[in-house]
């Protein structure tokens, strides 16, 4: 994989910030976009824009064709047929759709089993079902940040109706063995939902192989535009569910006092859809395919190994999550902890202070190294790790070892800037 050549494809990476090369290490939050994606969107608006599924005229037919071909292409990317691909805005909307439309099948006393490493978008929608007495149960993690399988097995039972798990943690980087979890879930008669926001962009994912009944992911984290995401669902499940929203596009017939629904997947796509987004995401999928998802995964594995090594050289840095690159996606969260500098007052020194991730991010930004700091929309996990926040660096196809070195060099300056 030729990173220099790939970087050429991303206009934004040519930008200098404070006169320095931009070192973008926040692809977990959102990825940058290649020229091919930007061009596909421009081409759509310059040559094909019309509302879809409505017009009888040529342009509308062409727009509809582009929209549906995009669906097919994106479906193929995850090993799914196009009629099980629902376009949504993002992972969050996909998970809310399931909670709303499938959640109706759950009753008081039923349980939803998830994990303590979830993003808020795979927690809050399930809390909504608490109103009708559905209980949310969290699987714990081991000390190394992997999922505690024994705890998972202990907590699953005949009340468990839904198991919903992130494929890759956006904080720990942990890659969960979703295939195994799927087997256990299905053995207990539960459906199995995968939050693929951090896996589909970074590794080969096939819905059949991982045994997902539903899979949610966001276009903007995989080189595509913002505002487009995907809910994959098993066809019979999607068919059994009521619509999420009502309006145009999702109906078959509307009468004054009642309506019937369009077939899946349009049943779940009320209103004018994000055609630009679908077309852009389809171009992103083509781009990723041209590199190869195995290649993407191997590249990130290499970068993670290298950064675990380099960050490990800084004594006071504490890294969260698995040390084994086989078990970790391209994400590294860390903190400067237990600083007992002579320069800090005695009572602070006794406890040892943590340099706050905001200060770390601000200082790195002085060298145009962009990392995330905060709770990463995973407050329950922060609580479990007993930290208020962390810094996080994440990698994608346009990052290389130079970026890791820039991160390392900037991190070495942190204590100096704070004179601590």
């Amino acid at each position: 994989m030729d990173v220099n050549k790939i970087r050429e494809d991303f206009p934004i990476l040519k930008r200098k910030i404070n006169g320095k090369r931009a070192v973008y290490l926040d692809s977990t939050a959102t990825s940058q976009k290649p020229r091919a994606v930007i061009d596909a969107i421009v081409n759509y608006y310059e040559n094909f824009n019309a509302n879809v599924h409505r017009g009888i005229y040529r342009l509308s037919e062409e727009a509809t064709d582009l929209y549906e071909k995009s669906r097919e292409n994106i479906g193929r990317f995850i090993g799914a047929r196009s009629d099980s691909i629902v376009f949504v805005r993002n992972t969050t909307e996909a998970l809310n759709l399931i909670s709303y439309s499938y959640g109706r099948f759950l009753n008081e006393g039923d349980e939803i089993l998830t994990t303590i490493m979830e993003h808020h978008s795979n927690i809050v929608p399930w809390q909504f079902l608490g109103r009708k007495g559905v209980k949310l149960v969290f699987t714990d993690i081991n000390e190394d940040g992997t999922l505690n399988i024994d705890d998972f097995i202990n907590k699953i039972g005949k009340r468990t109706k839904i198991v919903t798990v992130t494929h890759v943690s956006n904080v720990l980087g942990t890659i969960n063995d979703v295939r195994e979890l799927s087997k256990i879930a299905h053995d207990h008669g539960a459906i199995f939902i995968v939050d693929g926001a951090q896996s589909v962009p970074h590794m080969p994912v096939d819905v059949e192989k991982i045994g997902a009944d539903f899979l949610a992911f966001s276009g903007h984290k995989m080189l595509g535009p913002m505002g487009i995401g995907v809910l994959y669902g098993k066809r019979d499940l999607l068919e059994s569910m009521d619509p999420f929203m009502g309006g145009g596009e999702m109906i078959s017939e509307v009468h004054t006092y009642g309506s019937t629904w369009a077939d899946v997947p349009l049943k779940f796509e009320a209103g004018t859809p994000n055609v630009e987004g679908a077309v852009g995401l389809s171009a992103a999928v083509d781009y990723l395919r041209s590199i190869g998802m195995e290649e993407v995964r191997n590249h990130e594995k290499g970068l993670v190994s290298y950064s675990l090594e380099r960050l490990g050289e800084i004594n006071e840095i504490n890294i969260y999550g698995p040390r084994d690159p086989e078990k970790r996606g391209g994400v590294i969260s860390f903190n400067f902890r237990n600083i007992r500098s002579e320069r800090i007052s005695e009572h602070l020194r006794k406890e040892g202070i943590m340099i706050h991730p905001h200060d770390v991010a601000t200082i790195l930004d002085m060298d145009s190294v962009m990392v995330r700091s905060g709770h990463h929309c995973a407050q329950p996990l922060m609580e479990r790790l007993n930290i208020p926040a962390s810094s996080r660096a994440s990698f994608y196809i346009y990052n290389d070892r130079d970026d890791v070195d820039s991160l390392f060099d900037a991190l070495k300056k942190v204590r100096g800037v704070l004179k601590i």
Binding site: H347, I353, P357, H358, G374, M382, I387, P388, L418, I420
Partner: protein
Amino acid sequence: MSNDIYMEFILENYRNPKNYGVMDNPTVKKSGANPLCGDDITIYLKIENGKIQDIRFTGKGCAISQASASILTEMVKGKDLEYVKSLGENDLLSALGIELSPARLKCALLSYKVLKDALSGF
């Protein structure tokens, strides 16, 4: 206003905060947090004869939030309640003397919010 947010005055208050620590038998004690950052601050006040006789704080957070709390306690210690209540956000910000981005403004004002909250009954 300096655009070096880590200038010596701020760092000094971060590393060696004034009035840091728990107070026994305070007149009021109030805590507040900034969940987005994970900053939290607790302020203890001893109020007598319409004056803030003593003030202490504990907390964890970024250099800006901790330094700001330290500087705020110095601004109000021994002062009349009337005066303290008349202090606005800008008084604290000009005492800090640094240029802050909107995200960092929240850090800087956390202690101010907690203090105002603590004094709301007086």
